[in-house]
């Protein structure tokens, strides 16, 4: 059953994508660690976590696309799940510091000593174990998404109202995490990490390993998302996006469909956040900023929503642009981002991947092409309903056969 799903999940594009990610997972560490400095293939140390960050953002974009592109839920608060996963990882990393902090307290992280905490708050228990922390990386965002989704989707909140609530959710979390007495380091967040799984976070080899882990995680997310959208459930997701009430009248419960996608998406976003923290070395409430979530929406829109490849391309391109712009012309970046969003909405409603599909003609595998192809094939036979036919005998039945599976 699972193998069958995997086979179906991996259409041509997904295979290429996974192969490409496997390649960079190996190539980037090799270029950084093995190829000597001075060689033009050598990758400087600063570039590795930067590239890793792009891949984490790409994973967030993919997660967002699962709910926005396929389910029609425009979440303007997806960075919240990313940040929650990041915080869970940050808590683990804080506990790994141990007595090496500035105040050398073996139990309490620095900020707690500074804020006069007498003992570790209960919700920090367990985070000294990596397996517990890694579990929480998935459970906390997933649980929040589950509670939020059950309330919102059961009450049939849709469209712009839902977007506003998701935005409010991330804003509320932003304000909450800014408070010192919440126990997550307040304004400064969590930083000054030392070790992850016993390895020095700062070491080039650890950075390279984290990059490889990010690439592998993204590849896994691609497989998971691809499996979901290519399954029957994926078709129901698209049906829910296009005509939610209609799905009810054939017996589906769109609220459950959306809830499933939302939770899966939140978990993926949480994992992306967890991989992000050790690479950038800090997590603070700024990650909950509504602007971050909106930026993620732009990545997806630029790349092409409703595709698996699109959000990944979009996230990487926009962030490369951001790295360049904020270095070269920092004051222009926000204008450029805004202009990009307007331009994409106006001229590239299907994003870069949509444009590629159009340009490729009928070679690709997107919905549009398949339909175009199908149309070409049947044009001749219009009109479709033969007027004079009588019985139910003569239509082509098994000529083409039910297999192979339709595209997607």
């Amino acid at each position: 059953m699972i193998t069958h799903m995997l086979l179906r999940a991996l259409d041509k594009r997904a295979i290429w994508l996974v192969l490409a990610l496997a390649f960079v997972a190996i190539a980037v560490p090799v270029c950084n660690l093995v190829i000597p400095e001075g060689n033009f293939l050598h990758l400087p140390n600063y570039a590795v976590p930067l590239l890793g960050k792009y891949l984490n953002y790409a994973m967030l974009a993919l997660a967002l696309d699962l709910v926005w592109g396929y389910c029609g839920i425009l979440s303007l608060g997806h960075a919240a799940f990313f940040a929650l996963g990041a915080y869970a990882m940050g808590m683990y990393l804080m506990r790994q510091i141990g007595a090496r902090g500035v105040y050398a307290n073996p139990v309490l992280p620095d900020f707690m000593v500074f804020l006069n905490y007498k003992e570790l708050p209960w919700f920090w228990y367990g985070f000294d174990h990596w397996w517990f922390a890694f579990l929480m990386v998935m459970v906390v965002p997933g649980l929040l998404a589950f509670c939020f989704g059950i309330l919102a989707f059961r009450s049939r909140v849709t469209g712009v109202y839902l977007s506003i609530i998701t935005q409010a959710m991330t804003y509320a979390l932003l304000l909450a995490f800014f408070r010192n007495d919440l126990g997550f380091g307040g304004n400064n967040g969590l930083t000054d990490f030392k070790d992850i799984l016993g390895f020095n976070v700062q070491a080039a080899s650890t950075r390279a390993a984290l990059f490889a882990a990010s690439a592998m995680a993204l590849a896994l997310a691609v497989i998971i998302c691809s499996a979901i959208v290519n399954s029957k459930l994926g078709k129901i997701m698209v049906a829910t996006r296009d005509a939610e009430s209609r799905t009810r009248f054939i017996g589906w419960r769109p609220e459950n469909v959306k809830l499933f996608a939302f939770v899966v998406s939140a978990v993926l976003a949480g994992i992306a956040g967890a991989l992000y923290v050790p690479q950038v070395g800090i997590i603070n409430p700024g990650e909950f900023d509504p602007g971050n979530s909106i930026e993620a929406v732009i990545w997806v829109a630029v790349g092409g929503r409703g595709t698996i490849v699109g959000p990944i391309i979009g996230a990487i391109l926009v962030n490369v642009g951001k790295s360049y712009f904020t270095g070269a012309l920092p004051e222009l970046w926000l204008f450029a981002l805004g202009a990009l969003f307007v331009a994409v909405t106006l001229f590239l409603p299907k994003g870069i991947v949509g444009l590629w599909n159009q340009w490729r003609g009928s070679g690709g595998k997107s919905e549009r092409e398949v339909s175009a192809e199908a149309e070409k094939g049947t044009e001749v036979e219009e009109p479709a309903l033969p007027a004079a036919s009588t019985g139910s005998t003569e239509w082509p039945k098994t000529g083409s056969g039910p297999e192979p599976q339709p595209a997607q």
Binding site: S231, K235, V238, W252, V370, A374, A384, L385, S392, P402
Partner: protein
Amino acid sequence: MSKSGTILYLDGVSVAFDGFRAINNLSLVLDKGEMRAIIGPNGAGKTTMMDIVTGKTRPDEGEVFFDGLVDLTKHDEAEIAMMGIGRKFQKPTVFESLTIEDNLLLALKGSRSIFPALFYSRLADDSRRMDEILGVTRLGDKRNMLAANLSHGQKQWLEIGMLLAQDPKLLLVDEPVAGMTDAETEETARLLKDINETHSVIVVEHDMHFVRELGVKVTCLHEGSVLSEGSLDFVSADERVVEVYLGR
């Protein structure tokens, strides 16, 4: 009147929207295996009646029973659909970015849970059933086409095909021949009569030619209640019906 032996039983149903009584003390009984045509001018409450039966709208008062036993006012759309009431909408509503085949696949009778759908792989039975429906609705050569690219009439047929895939006990069919040519209309009438062999059907339609073609008992609604009921000839001879339609 006894509910036993009925597939649909509405008694004294009323519903008002902002004070406007869309359905006013409506009583309607459909026997098992019966096909009924419902006519009536715009605003007579035909679509609202379907909304009530399918759980989209809750009646303010009155009884709505399905299959003699089930109180439909206590269930929501998905539950009612699973019990065996299928609905075709006035404006053909198909899933436009899915293929014809996938549209049918989603409607196909079976589990409606998340995880079975995630791990679903097509069974030979399902494929056979879909081939059958594609044959009946004459969409076989378009099975891999997106539903968005169908003509209006073909969408109507696809929606009827989706109803067939659901295999409900009762079909509510809202204006099935709107936008169809005469020949297509005749085909649709034939198809509905075929369906009626094994299912109970309610057809809402304006097209009198089509209703005559069906040759079944007719109920005329007006201002949310039954104005007249009987054979088409009887109903169209009814002075009040004439009055309502000519608008005096």
